[in-house]
């Protein structure tokens, strides 16, 4: 006997959980299928939780969710081999009743999130991999096959929240194969430190305040990529990610990059004596707006990383996943309510809802950025070094007069890019990409 559901959600990450939660709350009969042994077992993120997207789904989450620290300080560091030039922004305003950003550990957070989905009434099975989409004679998706014995499972709509490298959509031809230029490979360690050590080293007041450091420059060894360091309650998440195509080209192993970052003189003291508890690697979809596949069709929709929903410029992903999941869920729930079929024409409402939201607006804004960075890797190498040189010239006190120093700084800067014209065109390119 095979069962029929209103919706089957593939994956229990932020996107799948959000879609399943919304539909279950709307009274739909929802089945969620996760391949990991528990929800979150396969999920990897930095991880920063952006509160707004979750608050729209679970307004009371701050009272229940396993959160680490809320972010009171953001640092951006440009690294060369031995130095960093940084901008820090810290504000007591971030110590608000409803903080905007939190560090989280995904393993525990995802289990909590998945439990909320079950509470909302969705049926959830784990340790089960969806292998195929089942279609009727007309090509409409009507269900899924899994890697377990038994009949196919049927549903009016299948929501694919299977993650960046999920194979179901690719196999079914609803998602293209990943392009190495459209994905970053990120590696991360979770390094244990005592609560006091975390607070002392990052000037944090108490167990709730946290710091985020985004790192650019030598950390990516000439590849397009960035590094990060986030403070958790009793640990530090530290990682680095670069485009997969660049890793292929340079043949630099990802762990070497991470080790190099850990031993950088600006970073090593922050993690000294820490014990590495976890080492993980993950792909991040960074193709941006132009890499977004078709998002829905007859009986199916795509949410989260599976749809390339990551804003790499702002390191946002899980919030886009939650928002796309929510909007897909709301679309399906509305169609059900109106007695309409989940066919290709009707599911276009989901894309429309996305276009109205910050998700598509932001991705559209940065659509040129991946291409510009890919074609102009010197932006990530020449400038951090030039700035570091300039800072040293500026700060060292000796018998050189200040005007000469300024001249030297300017010529060093120009030399770093082989002439002012190049500096000018770089600025223009970046401005266009950012516009």
């Amino acid at each position: 006997m095979s069962e029929h559901f209103d919706a089957i959600v593939v994956g229990a990450g932020p996107a799948g959980n959000s879609a399943a939660l919304v539909m279950a709350k709307a009274g739909l009969k929802v089945l969620q299928i996760e391949r990991g042994e528990t929800a979150g077992a396969k999920n990897v993120q930095g991880a920063i939780l952006y509160a707004d997207a979750l608050e729209r789904l679970i307004p009371e989450f701050r009272d229940e969710a396993p959160l680490e620290r809320h972010v009171v300080e953001q640092r951006v560091w440009l690294l060369d081999e031995r130095s960093h030039t940084g901008a820090h922004y810290r504000s007591d305003d971030f110590n608000e009743d409803r903080p905007n950003r939190y560090t989280i550990l995904r393993a525990t957070f995802d289990q909590w999130f998945a439990a909320k989905v079950r509470e909302a009434g969705a049926l959830q099975i784990t340790d089960t991999t969806v292998t195929e989409l089942v279609r009727d004679e007309g090509g409409r998706v009507i269900g899924v096959e899994t890697d377990r014995d038994g009949a196919p499972l049927y549903a009016d709509v299948v929501v694919l929240g299977e993650g960046v490298n999920g194979l179901v959509g690719q196999r079914a031809g609803v998602r293209p194969e990943l392009d190495p230029q459209h994905v970053a490979l990120a590696v991360k360690e979770t390094i244990f430190l005592s609560e006091e050590a975390v607070q002392d080293r990052f000037n944090l007041d108490g167990e709730d305040e946290g710091v985020v450091i985004e790192v650019m420059g030598s950390v990516s060894a000439g590849m397009v990529g960035t590094g990060f360091l986030y403070t958790n309650r009793e640990s530090i998440s530290l990682g680095v990610g670069c485009l997969l195509s660049d890793f292929q080209e340079t043949q630099i192993p990802a762990y070497v990059l991470l080790d190099r970052m850990k031993s950088h003189p600006s970073i090593a003291p922050l993690i000294r004596d820490g014990e590495t508890k976890e080492y993980v690697a993950h792909l991040i979809p960074e193709g941006g707006y132009d890499a977004i596949p078709n998002l829905s069709g007859d009986g199916w929709a795509i949410v989260g990383d599976a749809g390339q929903f990551v804003n790499s410029a702002h390191r946002e992903g899980s919030n886009l996943a939650m928002t796309t999941g929510r909007l897909a869920g709301e679309t399906v729930a509305a169609l059900k309510r109106e007695g309409l079929a989940c066919n290709e024409a009707n599911l276009k409402r989901y894309r429309h809802a996305l276009e109205q939201s910050f998700v598509m607006k932001d991705l559209k804004k940065y659509r040129r950025l991946p291409g510009v960075l890919h074609g102009n890797k010197h932006l990530l190498t020449a400038y951090p070094r030039a700035i570091s040189q300039a800072m040293q010239t500026f700060l060292r006190v000796d018998d050189v007069d200040k005007r000469s120093k300024e001249r030297r700084m300017m010529s060093q800067f120009r030399a770093a890019r082989g002439g002012w014209w190049n500096v000018f065109t770089d600025a223009l390119k970046m401005a266009r990409a950012w516009r």
Partner: protein, 304 residues
């Protein structure tokens, strides 16, 4: 208590409903992923994934095989905190039919004596509803390693106990007989017992099945029966939890890591015999006595 296991007193079951098998399982932290707090030396349980005690899975599979062969049902029973329901649900997904969790603040801090008391009470209650044929447990748990709870339960219920069972050769409800092979020092024993009895199953004797999609859906929907101490028919709370546990944990400490001194040996040539000789030379250099002791065996060089 053993009267409740007596099938003759069960008017409803003239042997048609098949076996009633109960498997005791425990949710344990995945010991492969446990960390000791480097400062306080306490075990960090937070964030450590939990699993069903791996030895219990062999017991569960053995029980399900009997069920598949003779008919009947398999109930999984666990004592633990409310979150142990997750382990029971996982067991349902593997193919168990029913699940019972006994959970109560009063159970906290239980040693093997108190645990066997609570489990035995719950088993007696289950047996009163319908006589049990066999109670299964794993050989031991990976977090306690005592192998005491199974025998403790058997003793309290007055059941014969068959420990370290490697195979069940026969189960005959008509004659009330079970024949098992038990691994013992020096060989394999073939033992026969009357039913009901308690069987603790050895590791590696079977492979836990992968439940079907129907099993998984059933498990996701199933209501796990949750009993408090009173629900489980526990008469004497003094025998539960910390109060009922004569075992005292004096101190928990992390073993001091051994100074590992590994040595790399570079060998010219790729022939296994050359490599072996080089390694042996080095071993003998460290332990000259060993060479004379092993002197009888000629090395590759000498043979040539």
């Amino acid at each position: 208590m053993d009267a409740v296991f007596d099938h003759d007193t069960d008017p409803e079951d003239p042997g048609r409903r098949g076996l009633n098998l109960v498997v005791c399982i425990k949710q344990v932290p995945d010991s492969a992923q446990i960390r000791v707090h480097p400062v306080t030396n306490t075990i960090m349980r937070q964030g450590v994934p939990t699993i069903i005690n791996p030895y219990d899975l062999f017991a569960l599979e053995e029980a399900m095989r009997l069920r598949d062969q003779y008919g009947g049902e398999v109930t999984v029973l666990s004592m633990g905190p409310p979150m142990a329901e997750e382990a029971l649900r996982r067991a349902l997904g593997l193919g168990a039919d029913k699940a019972v969790l006994i959970t109560d603040r009063r159970f906290a801090g239980a040693d093997t004596l108190a645990t066997s008391y609570a489990l035995a009470s719950a088993l007696a209650k289950l047996g009163a509803e319908r006589p049990i044929d066999v109670v299964f447990t794993g050989k031991q748990t990976i977090d306690g390693d005592t192998a005491q709870v199974g025998p403790g339960v058997a003793r309290r219920l007055g059941l014969n106990q068959l420990t370290y069972v490697a195979a069940i050769d026969l189960l005959d409800r008509a004659t009330g007989e079970i024949v098992v092979r038990r691994r013992a020092e020096g060989g394999l024993q073939v033992l026969s017992s009357r039913l009901p009895c308690l069987v603790t199953v050895l590791e590696g004797v079977n492979e836990i099945r992968r439940g079907s999609i129907e099993d998984m859906l059933r498990a996701a929907r199933a209501e796990v029966t949750v009993w408090s101490a009173a629900d489980a028919g526990i008469e004497d709370p003094q025998q539960c939890g910390l109060k009922g546990s004569p075992t005292l944990v004096k101190r928990v400490f992390a073993p001091t890591p051994r100074e590992e001194s590994a040595e790399m040996v570079a060998v010219d040539g790729k022939r296994p015999a050359q490599i072996a000789d080089a390694v042996l030379d080095l071993v003998f250099a460290h332990a000259p006595k060993l060479e004379t002791e092993l002197g009888a065996a000629p090395s590759e060089k000498e043979r040539r």
